[in-house]
């Protein structure tokens, strides 16, 4: 299998802080790979190294077979990056931005003009093309940023939290566009805070915790391996959520988390028997349970299970 991205023992140190500590990553050609993990886990630092912006302090990284340090030019000719902060010139209009980057990517001027117009239309920016980007909304910037990212017809596209801060409608449109990239045969490395997004889009998912890749697999594999079923308990008003968490922990060893106004408690259980016993104990203990439900595992369960496992490891 041909690899589009391959890192071995990749490291990056900022001062005393080791942001990436020996990362081994392999992304296949044509694959849509989602990198997940809490803030500060090293996702963005990894992407910056892969896109030649940061020099690794250890290990190796190759993109399309080119070393990111020794053959940065070869990497740059085959990638494009769309980040969480739109990388555009705010003092230029949308069309001027597209023209500038099209020129730098080597299109002749007359082609650049036509391509700029077509991309503006395709991303719903035809009317905004003559306005400076400084006056664009967040969603418009992100769309223009992605349009610029498409110009070089990259082999590998890096999307660093492309949907963060967008409204649900824009998010959905962007997801559609990302699917389109994959259909064109592009390799996509995506980071996101929206786990259901990774679940829907990604062929494979990798979890980063504290600068290391702790789990890799298809969403289905990961859910089968790490995610139990989710037991959701809804408490009556004036109930004692802390007491519920304590009871679940003491009687069943279950870690739980509170959501919304604290009246919803969620926990991952291995199987229906455990769930049944836990609910029985809560009801027997007069915990004022209003409602409960047992759900199929999602990537969210995987995420919390891995974070918890990692937190335990760090405490040892």
């Amino acid at each position: 299998m041909e690899l589009a991205i391959e890192t071995r023992g990749l490291r990056k140190i900022f001062g005393k802080q080791e942001a990436v500590r020996g990362l081994d990553l392999a992304v296949r050609s044509g694959e849509l790979f989602a990198l997940l993990g809490p803030n500060g886990a090293g996702k963005t630092t990894t992407i910056r190294m892969l896109t030649t912006l940061l020099r690794p302090d250890g290990g190796t990284a190759r993109v399309c077979g080119y070393d990111v340090v020794k053959e940065a030019g070869g990497v740059r000719a085959r990638i494009s990056v769309t980040g969480q902060y739109a990388a555009l010139d705010e003092s230029l209009t949308g069309r001027q931005n597209l023209m500038l980057f099209a020129g730098l990517y080597g299109y002749a001027r007359k082609d650049a003009k036509r391509i700029a117009d077509e991309l503006l239309a395709r991303f719903g920016l035809a009317d905004a093309g003559g306005r400076t980007v400084g006056a664009y909304s967040g969603g418009m910037r992100r769309r223009l940023d992605l349009a610029v990212g498409l110009l070089p017809q990259p082999k590998v596209m890096f999307l660093d939290e492309p949907t963060t801060g967008l409204d649900p409608q824009s998010r959905r449109e962007l997801r559609e566009t990302v699917r389109g990239l994959k259909r064109q045969g592009m390799t996509v490395l995506l980071t996101t805070q929206y786990l259901e997004e990774a679940d829907q889009l990604a062929d494979r998912v990798g979890f980063i915790a504290d600068g290391r890749l702790v789990a890799v697999g298809t969403p289905a594999e990961l859910k089968a391996r790490y995610g139990g079923k989710t037991l959701t308990v809804r408490l009556a008003e004036g109930a004692d959520p802390a007491g519920v968490c304590r009871l679940l922990k003491e009687a069943f060893g279950l870690e739980s988390r509170r959501e919304e106004d604290g009246r919803i408690v969620k926990t991952s259980v291995r199987n229906a028997e455990t769930a049944h016993a836990a609910v029985g104990a809560l009801l027997g203990g007069r915990m004022e349970v209003e409602d409960f439900a047992l759900g199929e595992p999602s990537l969210e369960e995987v995420y919390f299970a891995l974070n918890q496992a990692y937190a335990k490891e760090a405490a040892v």
């Binding site: 990388a87 020129g103 389109g180």
Partner: protein
Amino acid sequence: MNERHPAWLKAGSVRRRPGRWAAAALFTRRALHHLGNNAFGFAFEAVVSPIVMLLIFGFLFGGAMAGSVREYVRFLLPGILVLTVVPMTVASGTTLCTDMARGVYQRFRTMPFWQPAAVLGLVAADGVRYAAGVTAVLGAGWALGFRPAGGVSGTVQAVAYAIFFAWCVGWVFTWIGSIVKRPETVSGSSMMILYPLLFASSVLVDPSTMPRWLRVAVDANPISAAATLTRGLFHGTATAGELAAGIGAGLLFAAVFIPLTMYAYLRKQPG
């Protein structure tokens, strides 16, 4: 629709990686778009403020220093030319710093073009701003009765030199712009550097009227060398020594600060 070939990219759109100067030209165009998109700011900086400066100094000092405005303008105008273009050189540093503080620099750095083009193209476009400022000063000077003894050829030489000098000085600020974090720091520090140099020079006043200790400092100031040479070229009196000092001062700035700027710009790892 063929998915492998998106609709926006029609057949026949050939990509050819831009050469060094083609890439720089794109950055020059970008800087010119910046001027066009901010036409009011550009007009104010390049046209209104130099004229105001000429009028203020001309009428404020003219009577006291040379007996008449017309007489003083003969001395003052070349100095005002330097006083106009030199502060204009700060803008490139500010732009560079703004770029580097924002995401757009990161995009540039992930692209396969000749990286120094981003800086060279920007600086090249400054010539347009300098030329606009120079034209405004010359027009206003003409109206106040400025008739240089060197005639057209002297004027052309003086203007060419003033723009050359500004280009050289600009590299000081592109360097500052590429090492500091905030664009405001560039404008702030530039004022601290420029104002003492501009006023403790032969721009506004003939050094022979100054006390000895000050004259030594003023004569050593590269801005004085530039003002003196500009004046000499306008009036056709430039000596070989003045030529060497004026051109040398410019080249010295360029020789020191072009490498420093390029090193800082290309080395920086966007945080």
